[in-house]
């Protein structure tokens, strides 16, 4: 009887899940009742809890909804009837009696203007008369807004508490600005790390092209076009991401130029799974690996060597490797370079490593297997699923020509 088997299995699963749920609930209950503590302790917990609940709405770009949520927690913290949070030139919200918001905005303005706490008594409100205490929020030496608390009778305690809350809000706003500037810094860092075309490469390529101009003008022309393709891709400004396919195309141009110099000494093998071609990767994250293999692996080796580029499908990831059978790297020196030591050779590897870590987290840095005389294998693993990151395509303007070249 398949149905009865299925039914028994389903009943088992449900019973198991219920049992686990009950145990978890009981445990939580036992832990909580043990740790409730004295009244004072509980008051402290509650205040801290309210503060941390409010904090997440105060950081970053504050919207009116954020201000309203923060105001709700702050009102509970102060025990005021109504609490308004007014940011100058930004959102304003009142929790409690929202009809008091215009009054609060006026009080906040006065408080912001004088940069001092401000108390006013016997204000008219829909529910009778009320007192109000306003305190300015001073963040980074500037007044950015005010906290206004309303209560039937404002005593010195509430005034002081309002001042303290305003200071605390100021600290959160400053932290939010710090977060924002940290994020901006990280972004700038990534941009700065974006690999640059090395001057050596330009110099070498132009020399190689020059050597063909008289002997083989057609080849020289092809090389110039490759050079144009390569520079257009590398100098493009739009977008920090690209696809494996586009990156491979740029590597192709790069290798054609290098081959003009190396001739048969540079051999290349390619193994690319078509599934990963549309994977989104950071802009110029494969080409520097190939350039590193050519410049530091094969250039110094007599008789040249072979570069093997693979891109494979590995579950939820795309795995990309660049291997050369060149002179290899001293592992200790490489570790120093990757750890941020004095930049010398292999700075391309370091840039790619830093950007991968920045974008995907530390577990996605480059993995390098190498030793002196044993060649080098560089591996990167990139998640295939990257919603929210679109690969910027080659500039739209050049789309008119087939493959983007200018027709003579």
């Amino acid at each position: 009887m398949p149905e009865s088997m299925l039914l028994v299995a389903a009943a088992g699963v449900v019973a198991g899940a219920l049992a686990v749920g009950v145990v978890v609930l009981l445990r939580r209950f036992a832990v909580q009742s043990k740790e409730l503590g004295t009244d004072a302790e509980r008051a402290t917990y509650q205040t801290l809890h309210l503060a941390s609940s409010a904090a997440k709405h105060l950081r970053g770009d504050m919207s009116t909804a954020d201000a309203a949520r923060a105001a709700r927690h702050l009102r509970a913290m102060l025990g005021a009837d109504t609490l308004a949070l007014v940011m100058s030139g930004g959102p304003a919200a009142a929790d409690g009696d929202e009809a008091l918001l215009p009054t609060a905005e006026r009080l906040a303005e006065e408080s912001v203007g004088s940069a001092r706490p401000h108390v006013e008594r016997r204000l008219a409100s829909p529910s009778g008369e009320t007192d109000a205490a306003a305190a300015p929020i001073l963040a980074g030496g500037e007044v950015v807004g005010a906290v206004v608390a309303f209560a039937p009778r404002v005593r010195a305690g509430l005034v002081r508490a309002t001042g303290e809350v305003a200071d605390w809000v100021a600290a959160q706003v400053e932290l939010g600005e710090l977060d924002a500037s940290r994020a901006a810094l990280a972004e700038l860092e990534v941009r700065a790390l974006r690999a640059q075309i090395s001057p050596h490469f330009i110099y070498n390529s132009l020399n190689a092209i020059a050597s063909f101009i008289n002997t083989d003008p057609a080849k020289a022309r092809d090389l110039v076009l490759e050079f144009a393709d390569f520079t257009r891709y590398s100098f493009r400004r739009a977008g920090d991401f690209t696809t494996v396919a586009e990156e491979l195309r740029s590597i192709d141009s790069y290798l054609k130029l290098e081959r003009a110099r190396f001739g048969d000494r540079l051999r290349v093998t390619l193994q690319v799974a078509p599934e990963v071609l549309s994977t989104v990767i950071p802009f110029l994250s494969m080409q520097p690996l190939v350039e590193n293999a050519v410049r530091h692996g094969l250039e110094a080796k007599e008789g040249g060597g072979r570069i093997t580029i693979t891109a494979q499908d590995a579950g939820a990831f795309a795995e990309i490797t660049v291997e050369d059978d060149g002179v290899g790297i001293d592992p200790e020196r490489l570790a120093e370079v990757l750890a941020g030591g004095p930049p010398g050779e292999h700075v391309g590897l370091r840039n790619v490593d830093a950007r991968l870590r920045q974008v995907y987290g530390d577990e996605h840095g480059l993995v390098v297997e190498t030793n002196v005389g044993a060649g080098t294998l560089v591996r990167m693993r990139v998640p295939k699923s990257q919603p929210g990151r679109a690969a910027a395509s080659v500039d739209v303007a050049t789309r008119g020509e087939p493959d983007g070249r200018l027709v003579p």
Partner: protein
Amino acid sequence: MNPAVGYAAIVAVAAVSVLIGVYGLRISRTTSDFYVASRTVRPWWNASAIGGEYLSAASFLGIAGLILLTGASALWFPIGYTAGYLMLLLFVAAPLRRSGAYTIPDFTEARLESSAVRRVTSVLVVVIGWLYIVPQLQGAALTVRITTGLPSWVGSVAVAVLVAVVVAAGGMRSITFVQAFQFWLKLAALAIPVVALLMVTGAIEPELAPSAAFPADAGPGSLEVYRTISLMVALLLGTLGLPHVLVRFYTNPDGPAARRTTLIVLVLLSAFYLFPTAFGLLGRTFAPDLATPGDADALVLVLPDRLVPGIAGELLTALVIGGAFAAFLSTSSGLVVSVAGVISQDLLGGSVRGFRIAAFASTAVPLAVALATEPAGLAGSVGLVFAFTASTLCPVLLLGIWWRGLTARGAIAGMATGAVLSAAAILGSTFVAAAAPGIRPLVEQPAAWTVPIAVLVTVLVSRADRRRVPRGVDAFLARLHLPEQGGA
């Protein structure tokens, strides 16, 4: 039937699949082929691969068996299996491709900005994957039992072990080409025998007169309206949420290519389903004695040997067995890759080792279920998986793509409602049918009421929760629906 033929065909297909998976198409290219290497998969290849992955035991064996058992009403299954791609084409393929999310959990997380939704979706994807692997393993058990005389469990265990080892070893790297190859193998493995049978049967007197095999009162005129509609809802909408099918669309370079691929898939599937249907019709007229619930699914395997005498019959049988194993292997490996991907990403931190462990876990569970339960008709059980998928993932996917008001809570509530209702209906169908025969169709084919309820719950909860509409919804939907920058 000669067991040697069975052994030879099974071993050959298994060996070829493993070899292609591990070594195959790792042709190294020299740099002159750079352009070829950096060209994406053509829609034709990709469509063949989707077909290869999609055509499972239910399509290869189940449809013919069901036609043998129930006659013309079983024809709705191939129609539904194929037409599901029309829904995919119309509503999902291109937007999902543009979203950049690689799996359904990734999509829901990105769309609703909530990790709770992600967890719920992940659980559902894993459960659906498991449920879908079970009929594949049962089909393997049936094939091995009929063709070699070995006990049933040998077939399930062999396919499960093979798939787990190959996937865990990372051997499915050139998977697009393996799957494309499997599609054409499956097509040939049914088309050639059908043509041969049609040529032979011209000279044989049918055991049942066609008018008795297909009585007019069992034809399209006497449709059970509710059952048919419910089945179509399940098959049309269930295709949208199948995890292993969606992943294939990311091999397309852009949205238009995804759409073109879907169109070709429709053509390929329509062509393919001619043949199992023909098998079923032939079986009903020439081998009516096979029409017992346990063995009907083996019709495709048995019929060539019966009708074609001598060595030709054995060769045709070998071909069909090979095709059947290709179906089990390709569908289950595609599913195991998807399920293991989700498990390793959400539970095991996405490491290579985690993926291997997950690959074994995601074959072990369905294997245990397949061994513990009796197969109850392949096409029918796959139909129920489709009903479950249609009631859980489909509303979230469709509303996520087309309705900006969807919220995380709405999505979770809808998925939970759909899962509970459809699972309860499927599991409880025997009891309910015995207790209240009147509502039997309602619980045996639940999709027609579970899907609307799930959609309704999703919409109502989202409406009540309007303040939590994700902030980035406009930007995200714009990305889903606007053509790619500079694209065709």
